[in-house]
């Protein structure tokens, strides 16, 4: 499992697209929109809202990178070799699924750290922040396995993941605060994991919450991850996911 995770991590970190999507684009949006949309954010320092907002929004691209890891193995013809090795296939699957979680955790830490360093964003206590960061990364990558078994190409993956990530981020309050959304959308917001991630970051970063006070967001994020796996378990086309051809 560790070998699969390390290989995936090494391959991912050599993909420049990863840096662009997970770090460069959110930082650009933060720089452009924070001052332009300052009045709509509830915090005195707009970056206090935009940094976690865009960090969370783009963390959910973890699902695309998780799925891409499986598509790549198929594209490179590696499943035929991997499945012939004396390694349990589920250890390989789990290892591959863990790597994007690590990458997204690094992305979140990097964006929050840059926010603190460059824009004076207050981060709150490190323990609840770290717990929330990890839970967000797990939730962000959770749909990857199901996506990988459903899409037939990277183009399809890009289209579907963009729809899911941007759609859920918009409804969840990652771009515009959920309190500013129209009534119907605001009522839908708590159905998205992004809403709970942002709620958690708000509690930790703006209200000084400790671990005990972020139980609900943590439960919602981890519940989303478990729920996605449970619901998609039957829907995942395992044969297609690991098809060597």
């Amino acid at each position: 499992m560790l070998t699969a995770a390390l290989v995936e991590l090494r391959v991912s970190l050599r993909n420049p697209q990863l840096l662009v999507v997970l770090v460069a684009i959110p930082l650009t949006l933060v720089a452009v929109l924070s001052t332009a949309l300052d009045p709509i954010y509830p915090t005195d320092n707009p970056y206090q809202s935009t940094i976690p907002g865009f960090a969370v929004m783009f963390a959910f691209y973890g699902m695309a990178f998780a799925a891409d890891g499986f598509l790549r193995e198929r594209e490179w013809g590696n499943w035929a070799r991997l499945l012939s090795l004396p390694v349990d296939r589920w250890r390989i699957v789990l290892g591959k699924a863990l790597a994007p979680v690590a990458v997204v955790s690094i992305q979140l830490a990097l964006l929050l750290g840059l926010g603190s360093f460059a824009y004076g964003v207050h981060l709150g206590a490190p323990v609840p922040l770290t717990a929330l960061l990890l839970a967000t990364a797990v939730a962000g990558c959770a749909p990857g396995l199901a996506l990988a078994s459903w899409v037939r190409s990277r183009v399809e993956l890009d289209q579907l993941s963009n729809l899911l990530v941007i759609g859920m981020a918009s409804v969840g309050g990652a771009i515009v605060p959920a309190t500013r959304l129209p009534g119907a959308l605001a009522r839908l917001a708590p159905l998205t994991p992004q809403y709970w991630a942002l709620d958690g970051f708000d509690r930790v970063m703006n209200q000084g919450a400790g671990l005990a006070e972020i139980g609900a967001p943590l439960a919602a994020l981890l519940g989303f991850a478990v729920g996605v796996h449970a619901l998609s378990h039957r829907a995942v086309r395992w044969h297609r996911l690991l098809d060597p051809v």
């Binding site: 035929a80 991997l82 060597p244």
Partner: protein, 252 residues
């Protein structure tokens, strides 16, 4: 002037144990809901190269994938008679990590093959030498030529010194020099290292050069098998025997 000859490294391993090798019996497998193998049986003794030949779609790849454990079997049995009953498989596609270097690919697959960390560097070095890729160890696999990728893929299959080696058309698309190197290496892996090698190819001259025995397969069934010399006994060449047995009609 003496022409440059590519040298194939000698690999020292214990002598072949009598009776060791691979025995596949009555393999039945499906692909995409369609029956592809209808009871293929195959014996590959250790220390020998067994050629698997057949037209496109005959079931060569499925046979090798079934033996490698990649394609699930509906019926049949596969037994490896060896102290360590392990199988190394080089699929038809190069099956590598293009963003990783040659040495990194070997190290990764050595880890997957269960080679201990302390022995990994030595194993990578041996595989580099086998593939003749020492000079490009730090080059990314995605930047290798087709021949280099094929040689690397072949070397990856040998990591951990498996008792059985399966090569699915390893020389497809490579130049004569690389093909010569690979054929020599395949022969050495069987005769010097003692592995039971099964090797599929469309090149019947390769089969004649390196294989001790050959199995001709068509429509998912073994048409004939035996020592290469015996198979062509009634024909001017192995290719003539192959065409007589499998027909001259175009496939796929």
């Amino acid at each position: 002037m003496t022409p440059a000859v590519a040298t194939v490294p000698r690999v020292t391993r214990p002598r072949v144990t009598r009776g060791a090798g691979l025995a596949a019996r009555g393999l039945v497998a499906q692909r995409g809901g369609r029956a592809v193998l209808h009871g293929v049986s195959l014996a590959a003794p250790a220390g020998e190269v067994t050629g698997l030949v057949g037209p496109n779609g005959a079931g060569k790849t499925t046979t090798l994938e079934a033996i490698a454990g990649v394609c699930p079997l509906r019926e049949g049995s596969i037994r490896v008679f060896a102290e360590r009953p392990t199988i190394g498989f080089a699929p038809q596609e190069a099956a590598l990590y293009p963003p990783l270097t040659v040495a990194e690919n070997l190290a990764v697959f050595a880890a997957y093959a269960g080679v201990r960390r302390a022995a990994r560097a030595g194993e990578v070095g041996r595989a580099l030498e086998l593939a003749g890729l020492e000079g490009v160890a730090t080059r990314r696999a995605g930047r290798l030529s087709i021949g280099q990728r094929r040689r690397l893929s072949l070397a990856v299959a040998t990591l951990g010194s498996p008792a059985v080696l399966l090569f699915d058309e390893p020389t497809a698309g490579v130049d004569p020099q690389a093909r010569h190197h690979m054929i020599e290496a395949i022969g050495a892996l069987a005769r010097e290292a003692g592995a039971a090698v099964v090797f599929s190819s469309h090149r019947l001259d390769e089969i004649e050069t390196v294989c001790d025995t050959a199995v001709i397969i068509d429509h998912g069934r073994v048409v004939t098998e035996g020592p290469v010399a015996d198979l062509r006994i009634d024909d001017p060449s192995l290719e003539a025997a192959f065409l007589r047995l499998t027909g001259v009609g175009l496939r796929e």
